[in-house]
């Protein structure tokens, strides 16, 4: 990952504020863009003029003893991870780097997390504070650098998954965690339903489980933590130690696994981890059962109904018709609240219009 080192740190805050104010005066909506690594995933297409945040980058503060890092939103996740590596720290949510172009701002906005999410939390869970440029052109500071802070509404966490529709993320402060002392991945040849059962049973045990996925007829369980605990659990659980396990988990996190290749629409189902598996569907099960991936031009209504039955929701993650809705429909009462909330941050509807929903 040599690219991030070549990028120079720069404070572009004034330019971002000016660009937003100009757009406001011209009533011209903006497409807020970090590394542009997630343009074609997760959200609907947005045709507005781009507002580039990627140049606004640089780590602002990282005190390893505090386990807290602050960075400008355009800082690449790769650059942050490189700084954390020096002290054997990591971002708990293991977010994707997407070839080095993913920014920390885009990562929070999209709330993308890697395979450890059920155990170490999502990016949503590790955010401590943000500096946000709202749709009125005001720079606002929420949260902070401390672990606990209940003064005022949790506006920082609200940005997770909002895809930049409530404000332009300018600076982000995140909690970091020590890298585990030791990790081992165990493999088991099992059909999907049995693999899911085993995932659930293992996850209910007090053991250092840190990832569980099923793909290509094989269940993978990752154990991470104190070396003594990892070794003794691995011994009890059996299975086959997987040699190139880091590559496997990285291929899930980065979506470079062959499962994700090709143009077929990619559906993401976020479900009750115990929801029954549909045998016969082309499925990848991650997050200990809570995240399921499907490849097919499915009927959206059927997909949403299936997800609801599984206690969760579906999203047309990539491909398919991205001018229509890509997320689960919301009940009218909630839709109204979401619109009012959007209005509270961005009364003129300038920021990423329609990126989440056509009506938002």
């Amino acid at each position: 990952m040599s690219e991030p080192a070549l990028q120079r740190d720069a404070d572009c805050e004034t330019a971002l504020v000016a660009a937003l104010q100009a757009a406001r005066e011209a009533k011209r909506p903006l497409y807020v863009r970090g590394g542009d690594s997630k343009r074609d995933v997760l959200g609907r297409a947005c045709e507005a003029a781009p507002l580039d945040v990627a140049a606004h980058r640089g780590i602002l503060d990282y005190q390893p003893g505090e386990l807290v890092i602050s960075a400008r939103a355009g800082t690449s996740v790769a650059a942050i991870q490189a700084a954390l590596d020096e002290h054997r720290h990591m971002l708990p949510s293991e977010p994707p780097l997407f070839g080095g172009s993913a920014t920390i701002g885009g990562t929070l906005a999209c709330n993308l997390s890697g395979p450890g999410r059920p155990w170490r939390g999502a990016t949503r869970d590790s955010v401590l504070g943000v500096k946000l440029l709202n749709g009125k052109g005001e720079l606002l500071n929420f949260g902070g650098r401390v672990m606990k802070n209940v003064a005022g509404y949790d506006v920082s966490r609200l940005q997770a998954g909002a895809m930049g529709t409530l404000g332009v993320l300018c600076e982000i402060t995140l909690r970091v965690v020590p890298q585990p002392e030791h990790s081992v991945t165990l493999g088991f040849e099992l059909p999907a339903a049995q693999a899911l059962t085993m995932m659930l049973q293992r996850a209910a045990q007090p053991a250092p489980l840190s990832a569980a996925c099923w793909v290509d007829g094989r269940l993978h369980l990752r154990l991470s933590g104190a070396a003594s605990a990892v070794r003794s659990t691995a011994q009890q659980w059996g299975g086959e130690p997987v040699a190139d396990a880091n590559d496997l988990w990285a291929s899930l996190r980065e979506m470079t696994h062959p499962f994700f290749s090709g143009d077929a629409p990619l559906w993401r189902l976020s479900l009750n981890s115990a929801a029954a598996v549909d045998n016969g569907e082309e499925t990848l099960i991650d997050w200990g059962g809570a995240q399921r991936w499907l490849r097919a031009p499915h009927n959206a209504g059927a997909m949403h109904a299936k997800a609801r039955a599984g206690g969760g929701h579906a999203c047309l993650f990539r491909g398919g018709d991205r001018s229509g809705e890509v997320r689960a429909p919301l009940p009218e009462a909630q839709q109204r609240v979401q619109q009012k909330l959007k209005h509270a941050f961005d009364p003129d509807g300038l920021l990423n219009p329609g990126r989440l929903y056509s009506w938002l």
């Binding site: 869970d125 606002l140 401390v146 672990m147 606990k148 949790d154 250092p208 206690g311 919301l330 609240v337």
Partner: protein, 485 residues
């Protein structure tokens, strides 16, 4: 956007009749004598009697109460178990106090998917009790966990001794059903780990009942660690203990809990329950590790060595659950123990970066000399969440004023050190006037716009949590300065 005015006697009678009709006379408390138990939360210096106290037993009744209050345009103050520490549940004199205590059923425990669905009046500890048979538990454990309700935990985003490793309430929720001020139902979250659209569950958690009333909560359950041990380490100076906290955090081990007490708190706790604390130490740490047997053995060994190197003057590792419970008992009873040293105490809740602990404690002790009031420090060192307990005598009016000024200075100090005015107790009425020391006007106005999106009439728990700047008349109409009793 006008302030709710006091109801006319006729309207008041009509509201009481309607509420009585929907709840039954036994679930509507109308006379002031019977309302006394509801006049304050655990911060008893702020008291007020409500117009009426409603005690619904079902979510439908909660909805009916909200709809009626909306129709009559009267304030609604939601209340859980009343264990809050910021007067967040103090009644509004012209409003209805909505107690959720009768919604106290554990609806479902799913051992396979590891969640529990409960009503908001269920006590925090009752969730763990319901899950224990499956080897599971609910992690956030505020000190009041025997009594405090999960609904109140959601409203306050409660932490506890173990949130260093297991997170706050917001990290342990899966879903909730919320009623808006109009009584409209919002189902937030789900049994998966995220939800489409804005994360309203994150926004509602810790919003102190200002945005909605929670009627149904689904929490994540975790496998109960087979073993936990606590290390007790005494230190000859606060600075050495503070540095040891930093060394533990930097060690790569995440303790399940890391608590600190200063000498006044140590001696008070020791007098109270003889936990075996080092009476002559200037400060002590309680450091808990949990997990599998191997993990606990490895981590207690490594942390004991580290604490020795950090200059611990005494060190003890619990050898049994009974010993561990006793060591925690001193910490958990520290507030009442310190409470015996003076007629009253005032508990602060600022949070600071962990590296600032010894410096800020030094400044607090200087302030203590300046105000002539003793202070005992008991706090969540691992999170940097301070709980200075200022000792005073409310019988002496000048001491109360001094205690409040001292407390205010501590909060300003926390903000100046890069922290915040409240780590886990909330703003409520108590810290409302301190909000501008942490937030600028633009941030406060953004909070107000959020409030407006949910509750344009400002009827949900008015006068708490966030100052309302735009509507000055409203602000003045609120109980700005409460008579202390």
């Amino acid at each position: 956007m006008t302030a709710p005015e006091a109801l006319s006697p006729d309207r008041r009678t009509a509201l009481a009749d309607a509420l009585r009709h929907c709840l039954g006379a036994e679930n509507l408390v109308e006379d002031s004598e019977s309302q006394r138990p509801f006049e304050c939360d655990a911060l008893t210096t702020y008291r007020e009697l409500p117009l009426l106290v409603a005690l619904p037993s079902t979510p439908d009744q909660v909805r009916a109460v909200l709809q009626l209050c909306h129709q009559f345009n009267v304030p609604v103050v939601p209340r859980g178990a009343g264990t809050g520490l910021c007067a967040g549940a103090m009644p509004h004199p012209q409003g209805v106090l909505l107690s959720l205590s009768k919604l106290d059923r554990v609806l479902e425990v799913d051992p396979l998917a590891r969640f529990a669905r409960v009503q908001p009046g269920v006590a925090n500890l009752a969730i763990t009790r319901a899950a224990a048979a499956h080897g599971l538990y609910y992690a956030p454990d505020p000190s009041s966990q025997i009594a405090c309700s999960i609904g109140g935990n959601v409203a306050s985003n409660s932490g506890g001794v173990h949130c260093l490793k297991y997170g706050l309430t917001v990290h342990n929720l899966l879903a909730m059903t919320v009623l808006t001020v109009e009584g409209e139902e919002l189902k937030l979250g789900g049994l998966g780990l995220d939800s489409p659209g804005y994360d309203l569950m994150a926004l509602l958690t810790g919003s102190e009942g200002l945005l909605g009333v929670v009627t149904d909560i689904t929490v994540r359950l975790l496998p109960t660690p087979p073993l936990a041990r606590v290390i007790l380490a005494g230190f000859d100076s606060i600075a050495a203990a503070g540095d040891a906290v930093g060394a533990v955090i930097a060690s790569g081990i995440t303790p399940a809990g890391l608590e600190m007490m200063d000498s006044l708190a140590i001696r008070a706790a020791e007098d109270f329950c003889a936990a075996g604390y080092p009476r002559d130490a200037a400060a002590m740490l309680l450091c808990e590790v949990d997990g599998t047997e191997e993990e606990v053995a490895q981590h207690t060994g490594e942390l004991s060595d580290l604490l020795q190197r950090a200059g611990a003057s005494s060190l003890q590792v619990s050898r049994s659950d009974a010993e561990r419970a006793l060591l925690w008992k001193g910490r958990k009873s520290a507030f009442p123990a310190v409470g015996r040293l003076a007629p009253d105490y005032y508990c602060m809740d600022g949070t600071i970066p962990r590296g600032q602990v010894s410096r800020v404690l030094g400044e607090i002790s200087e302030l203590s000399r300046k105000y002539g009031l003793a202070v005992a420090n008991v706090f969540h060192a691992g999170d940097g969440n301070l709980h200075p307990l200022i000792l005073f005598d409310a019988g002496k009016p000048e001491e109360l004023r001094k205690a409040e000024a001292f407390g205010g200075d501590i909060l300003e100090l926390s903000v100046a050190a890069g922290g915040c005015i409240t780590g886990e107790h909330g703003v409520g009425v108590e810290k409302l006037r301190k909000m501008p020391s942490q937030f600028g006007q633009a941030e406060l106005l953004q909070f107000e716009d959020i409030k407006h999106a949910f509750d344009p009439g400002l009827n949900l728990n008015p006068g708490k949590g966030i100052p309302i700047l735009k509507r000055c008349q409203e602000y003045r109409a609120l109980p700005a300065r409460h008579e202390h009793v």
